[in-house]
């Protein structure tokens, strides 16, 4: 799960560096809000649901070929940006005619910052590798032991 405090902090940094972003929400694939610039949790949830619906509809435009990673929908009222990275998503709204590349860059940076640090999986994988490595080392040690009698 996403660390909520980190997401909130990352969004605070985002709105501080990017004056174009009016509202933003970080949520996961199930729509659970990890952080939002909106103070009301109900509104944040509604925004996340609407953004998830937009992303799901965009997925249907070109299904099955390649994964959709980000989108921008521009309207006369403003623009909507959604960026997806693994299980995490960030949605943001701006006014009309935003600097698209800059907004995407800021959103990706924010999403990278709220990513949970690898904690459980790598140690498990590391143990397996260590065990395998230990077996290999044991196997590597055996041949010299056989050679000793031959040598003498």
């Amino acid at each position: 799960m996403l660390p909520a405090m980190n997401a909130q902090q990352a969004l605070a940094d985002l709105t501080e560096i990017s004056s174009q972003i009016q509202a933003a929400v970080v949520f996961d694939e199930k729509g659970k809000v990890a952080g939002s610039t909106l103070a009301d949790p109900g509104r944040a949830g509604g925004l996340a649901r609407a953004a998830a619906e937009l992303l799901a509809a965009a997925d249907q435009v070109k299904p099955g070929e390649t994964a959709l990673t980000q989108l921008e929908v521009a309207t006369a009222e403003g623009s909507v940006f959604v960026v997806r990275d693994g299980k995490n998503r960030i949605a943001a709204t701006t006014g009309s005619n935003p600097t698209v590349g800059l907004v995407f860059y800021d959103l990706k940076s924010t999403l990278r910052n709220v990513k949970p640090a690898p904690t459980k999986r790598p140690p498990t994988a590391g143990r397996k590798k260590t065990a395998t490595a230990a077996k290999k080392q044991t196997a590597a040690r055996k041949p010299p032991a056989r050679k000793k009698p031959d040598a003498s």
């Binding site: 925004l47 619906e53 965009a58 309207t75």
Partner: protein
């Protein structure tokens, strides 16, 4: 008299042309740009089937962010 009538007609005509231009510009502004993992991008302009589905959803997102 004729000059003032011509001036009024000119102003009205200019306003109509300006309004039509702004409306056209506004309609062209509505679009959806989709970016994919392989680096490809799909731009759906107003009137295309994909954009007709995405634009109302985007307006809903904007509405929810502001109300």
């Amino acid at each position: 008299m004729r000059r003032s009538a011509a001036a009024i007609l000119g102003i009205l005509g200019g306003a109509l042309v300006g309004a039509a231009f702004l409306r056209r510009q506004g309609a062209q502004r509505d679009r959806a740009d989709l970016y994919y993992e392989d680096g490809s991008m799909l731009s759906l302009t107003n009137g295309s089937p994909g954009a007709e589905r995405l634009l109302p959803l985007a307006r809903e997102v904007i509405r929810k962010s502001r109300t």
